[in-house]
């Protein structure tokens, strides 16, 4: 039987069934799923920033943030529904509430967040119910933080080695990226003079994203390989360059419209590349049985088989 020898990782000799995957790779489509991950993050961080702007009295920034949060949640929902095999049944997402299912938690969070950002944006546009609008904005700050991070759990809570093993860094990667995305979006939609916090967020988020990504790849070792190889590797490298560049530019973007545009677009592109790259890396890690078999075999060989304590 095929006893595959990987030349790059000589230690990873392992056995498999005709080299076929043990796992089913994620079936989520492109661009639906990565777009949702990006938009959800953007909307979430924008919600948090709207709340912060409200609390710090930055009205213009708050308006942009409210609109961005609502737009991100709405567009994200569209992508999410389109991703479903049976889109007409999207309401079934609210059939049960399950803490064991990040997607269930996420669905309820998205529902709340969409509603809150809708009220906030609606109020801002129409001027109606200003108090409710303000309250919704503040509340969307909370749901927004959840929105920006739960997607990391969504991916990590799978058997996909590159995701599951990345459970520590992925939330930072995603929240950083969300912050950068929202910062970039607000930077692009707010007069420069008023967009200082947005630029700061873009820069900080970008740094966090780059650092978290780097840490993850290093810690994961063999299982981190898919983030470095093939299409996922190219996407992740592009993401890092764009995010790093965009983040650095953000620190100086206040000086010109062009710099702002360059920074905002680079960060946005970087954030998108991150989502596409992570999705692709997950797919690649699930498709190659090495990433499934080798760590498990190592565990067994070390006399430390998996167990489920306390359940």
């Amino acid at each position: 039987m095929p006893r595959r020898r990987d030349e790059m990782v000589p230690d990873a000799e392992f056995r498999s069934y005709y080299g076929q995957p043990v796992l089913k790779p994620p079936i989520w489509h492109e661009p639906h799923m990565p777009a949702y991950l990006y938009l959800g993050g953007l909307s979430g961080a924008a919600g948090a920033m709207a709340a912060a702007a409200r609390l710090t009295g930055r009205d213009r920034l708050e308006l942009a943030a409210r609109m961005a949060a609502f737009a991100g949640a709405s567009a994200g929902t569209v992508f999410l529904v389109a991703e479903l095999g049976r889109p007409m049944r999207f309401l079934n997402m609210l059939r049960v509430f399950k803490l064991t299912s990040p997607m269930s938690v996420g669905s309820w969070t998205l529902a709340a967040h969409s509603g809150l950002t809708g009220v906030a944006a609606g109020s801002a546009v129409t001027g109606l119910l200003p108090l409710a609008g303000d309250a919704a904005t503040l509340a969307s700050g909370l749901t927004g933080v959840a929105m920006a991070t739960y997607t990391a759990v969504l991916l990590a809570d799978t058997a996909v080695p590159a995701w599951h093993e990345g459970m520590r860094e992925l939330p930072f990667l995603f929240s950083g990226s969300a912050l950068a995305s929202a910062g970039a979006a607000l930077m692009l939609t707010t007069p420069r003079a008023l967009a200082g916090p947005a630029r700061a967020a873009a820069a900080a988020g970008a740094m966090a994203e780059v650092v978290a990504g780097g840490l993850m790849e290093r810690r994961l070792g063999l299982v981190g390989e898919p983030y470095r190889e093939g299409r996922a590797g190219r996407l992740m490298r592009a993401s890092r360059a764009l995010t790093l560049g965009g983040g650095l530019l953000a620190t100086v973007a206040g000086r010109s419209r062009t710099l702002t545009a360059l920074s905002g677009l680079a960060i946005t592109a970087g954030a998108l590349c991150t989502r596409f790259g992570v999705l692709e890396a997950g797919r690649a890690s699930a498709k190659d049985p090495r990433y499934t078999v080798v760590p498990q075999r190592d565990r067994l060989d070390a006399g430390q088989p998996a167990s489920v304590p306390g359940r």
């Binding site: 609210l94 059939r95 049960v96 509430f97 399950k98 064991t100």
Partner: protein
């Protein structure tokens, strides 16, 4: 809809203490699920048509359609078990590609043509009678043979004994001797 729908909403049932991964999640359709063979109108005791082991089959029919074929647990031969072919028997008798109408290809024709079953039977009978007359051998090398070498038959090892019996009887009465089947091949 209305209150009934609300009370069946799993979230409400979860709040009432039902398990969201078990009881609460069940749909009405799930609650009503039964094996479809329970609703069969008739069950025929049959035998698998593939190899010669002779596994017992139960054929379930509902509303004039075969709804399931599975092993007959009473059979001392098969004890209810079937191989992949036997297990595919329902598809054998119900698959959409099965040919269910008579087809006719005229001499030198390039396509099939439809033909009425009764007409086909008459045409075949005419041809048997004609060919038999045209190729009749009363004697061969001076011996009585009373036969035709103009008509031959091949088949079939998946036919019933009763069918083979009528075939052999008719062919022999007509003087057709080149009657063969899979057992030779």
């Amino acid at each position: 809809m209305g209150a009934g729908w609300l009370s069946r909403w799993p979230v409400i049932r979860q709040l009432k203490g039902e398990d969201g991964r078990g009881q609460a999640a069940r749909s009405a359709r799930t609650d009503a699920l039964r094996p479809r063979v329970e609703g069969a109108d008739t069950v025929a005791r049959s035998v698998c048509p593939y190899c010669a082991v002779g596994c017992g089959q139960l054929v379930y029919v509902k509303d004039g359609r075969v709804t399931q074929i599975e092993g007959d647990p009473g059979s001392p031969i098969s004890r209810g078990r079937l191989c992949p072919k036997g297990s595919a028997s329902k598809q054998l008798v119900t698959h959409p590609g099965r040919q269910t109408t008579v087809l006719y290809r005229r001499p030198h024709g390039t396509e099939w043509e439809p033909l009425d079953l009764e007409t086909a039977m008459d045409m075949i009978a005419d041809r048997v009678v004609r060919t038999r007359r045209e190729t009749w051998q009363q004697t061969h090398e001076g011996q009585e043979v009373r036969r035709t070498l103009g008509i031959a038959g091949l088949g079939g090892a998946t036919l019933d004994n009763e069918e083979n019996y009528l075939m052999k009887k008719l062919y022999t009465a007509l003087g057709a001797i080149q009657v063969e089947n899979q057992a030779r091949i």
